[in-house]
């Protein structure tokens, strides 16, 4: 009983205080929200250590047991060591790890950026295969989706204007008028759903996160 009571009490108190600070600017309430956000950032910094610990243990176990695919774990340790060591050396040598001539920036420019860009570039291929598979005129709604998708895809690029000069204005109308209402509706719904969920959490009705 006590195991859950104290966390629930903390949740209730902090939740109510943060809601109250939104309406009451008078000290000590006014600055509490900002201070709480700063505390969260500090706590989050420490939890990064938890994450690194979990990763290191996971991969070390894989290596020790020589499990299938354990050579990926070798690459993990190599990457971890490389970024830590180059960052440290660059910071000591140049005073700032992000100096253009540092080894850390070399690692950043010639390893990290290409890797991130490659992963993002996969989207172009996947979107083509997903569109090809998903946009079939199976029924009325699917046909409307298909037509709208084709209009917007062509209207958003210069080729659309070359095909038909009215395509970009129609696309603009779809983006600024047709989809705006439903988008707003979904956003309002999600916001209200978040309020309802927060209310359940603050009042202790929703407790699954406590386990």
């Amino acid at each position: 009983m006590k195991k859950k009571t104290i966390p629930l009490a903390i949740t209730f108190l902090t939740g109510v205080i943060i809601v109250v600070t939104f309406f009451i600017p008078h000290p000590p309430f006014g600055r509490l929200q900002e201070d709480a956000l700063v505390w969260y950032s500090v706590i989050f910094g420490f939890t990064m250590l938890l994450g690194v610990d979990s990763l290191v243990r996971f991969h070390a176990t894989k290596l020790r047991r020589r499990e299938k695919g354990s050579w990926f774990s070798t690459i993990f340790f190599l990457g971890l060591l490389l970024s830590f060591v180059t960052g440290l050396i660059s910071e000591l040598r140049f005073g700032d790890a992000f100096k253009v001539q540092s080894s850390f920036m070399y690692f950043y420019n010639y390893v990290l950026i290409p890797l991130q860009s490659t992963m993002f570039a996969l989207l172009a291929f996947f979107i083509a295969s997903a569109s090809y598979r998903a946009f079939r005129a199976r029924n009325l709604e699917a046909t409307l989706l298909l037509i709208t998708a084709v209009i917007v895809m062509l209207g958003r690029v210069p080729a659309g204007y070359m095909l038909w000069h009215k395509l970009p204005p129609i696309t603009s109308w779809i983006l600024n008028v047709l989809q705006l209402g439903p988008m707003r509706g979904i956003m309002i719904g999600i916001a209200l759903g978040t309020v309802a969920m927060s209310l359940r959490l603050i009042l202790g009705i929703e407790r699954t996160y406590l386990s």
């Binding site: 006014g30 938890l50 979990s54 969920m197 996160y209």
Partner: protein, 369 residues
Amino acid sequence: MMVLLLLSMSFEAMDTPNDGGQSITIIGRDIPTDVKKILVFRRTEKDTVYKQVGFFSLLSMKYTDNDSIKDGEKYFYRLGVVFPESTFYYNITKPAVSTAQWFNRTRAAVLMYLILFSALVLLFIQLAKRNPEGLFIRKIPALDAIDEAIGRSTELGKPTFFVHGLMGITDAGTLAAITLLRRVAKKIAEYDTPLLVTNFDPIVMTASQETVKQAYTEAGRPDAYNEKNIIYLTYEQFGYTAGVDGLMAREKPGAIFLQGYFFAESLILAETGHAVGAIQIAGTTATVQLPFFVAACDYVLIGEELLAASSYIGREPVMLGSVKGSDWGKAVLIFIIGAYVTLGTIAGILMSTGRHTLMHIFEKLVSVF
């Protein structure tokens, strides 16, 4: 001409409204456009000499003084208006006194709606306690499909993946995903299927570990729980995506749950999951990623459906009551929006015929927000 310009110009110093005190705002009106800068000087009642405290903003036409201001003390201001050829000094005769406000009036409408919304939620929770059978919640196919997905994975002898989104524990979608994870983990424990949970955030990882452990214990299989199956991959978006994709390609899961807040990686994850032949159930509050999940996944929880998941699955009257209450809160909001739009439209039409009364009333009603 210069005298006319100076006479038209005016400044007023006042307590900064709706704040926590220790702040005074100076507002300027009709400031000529050729003013180069305006210096702000200040003294207290006891001081005899003005001291410069800052520069008046010609952009926002105001200056906010929170440099060592004490509440309750009178402050006198003088402004040095610098023109290209000369400088003129303007004394604000009336002193300003800073005070802290107990209520931010600009948020009155938010408070009213919050009270109304909370009242509706609490009302329906009470109604639900009295008459649990009387509450109707429509079917959510994606949540009904959870058992089917896990069953399929078990039959194929493949693991089930639960992929968390990219936000932290403070995000409502992430909390809802953890609730869903408990349900999925409990079912998986009963079926004795391997479960792998990937995490982007270390705090979410610890919460997931506790949730899964509890779920296995509830299912009577605490021995089957393996902490190493709930892993933190990385805090980098595409590093996480690459890690999850790699796991999918190697482990070839039978069912994949993509739950939480996703960004650009949503389609990469969903397409990879489709390529390995898994049944996919996605759920996100990220509106822009919904089309990708709809295109690539078998079932999708759209926005609030994810947030209502815990209520729908648990079927506890109290939880269902809160969902009904929030639905009614939304209905009230829809009514208010509809009423304002109708009134505004009629007022606009009448205004075009020269009748302004309704528009004045409408503008007053709008100023409430």
